[in-house]
């Protein structure tokens, strides 16, 4: 999993059936200290994350199937949590 910030949303009507009804958010990877890395991708939202939220993103297929409770979906990247805080030992 990685830490990211929600920076946008993708509206898409024509898509694979497994993605119907799923919200697609644009997330930018952050370092553990919260600095943007410029590396962004799309993720399926499963926790009603909003723009600006810092989120936990899962990037692995079989768990994505569990979270979306779909049978073998073509999905890898799923937002699985909204982060309240991150403590890093100095």
């Amino acid at each position: 999993m990685f830490i990211a910030r929600v920076i946008g949303e993708v509206v898409s009507t024509i898509k694979h059936p497994a993605l119907l009804g799923k919200k697609l958010l644009v997330v930018e990877k952050l370092t553990e200290r919260g600095e943007p890395t410029g590396d962004s991708q799309l993720a399926v939202d499963s926790v009603s994350a909003g723009e600006g939220d810092r989120v936990l993103v899962l990037d692995e297929g079989s768990s994505a199937a569990l979270v979306t409770d779909l049978d073998n979906p073509p999905i890898r990247t799923v937002i699985v949590g909204v982060i309240d805080s991150v403590d890093i030992e100095d």
Binding site: I7, G8, E9, V10, V11, S12, T13, I14, K15, H16, A18, L19, L24, V26, E28, G38, S40, Q41, L42, A43, V44, E51, G52, G61, A64, N72, P73, P74, I75, R76, T77
Partner: protein, 95 residues
């Protein structure tokens, strides 16, 4: 899942049979502000995308789950066409 622009088509009559019947499109990965990021890849099209369109692809093992056949040699599949990319500072793209 990555934003991409469809930039071309690959024609290959000789190929593994599970790929027959599917269009192979060349896509250029983009960052969220629609700048090129990384090298183009060839992806199986599952949503009838056309060259020039903004789409998004799923990669690696999950890409093969976008096709009906259970086991197929695919590591990138187009799974949607973008209508709009919205951000707080306004739409970045609208079809």
């Amino acid at each position: 899942m990555d934003l991409c622009r469809v930039i071309g088509t690959v024609w290959a009559t000789v190929k593994v049979d599970t790929l027959s019947g599917y269009r192979l499109l060349v896509v250029q990965p983009l960052s969220h502000d629609l700048k090129e990021s990384g090298l183009p890849v060839v992806a199986v099209d599952t949503v009838s995308a056309a060259p020039g369109q903004l789409v998004y692809i799923v990669k690696s093992r999950e890409a093969s789950k976008a096709l009906e056949e259970r086991f197929n040699p695919v590591d990138a599949a187009i799974v949607g066409i973008v209508d709009e990319v919205r951000t707080s500072s306004g739409p970045l793209f609208r079809r």
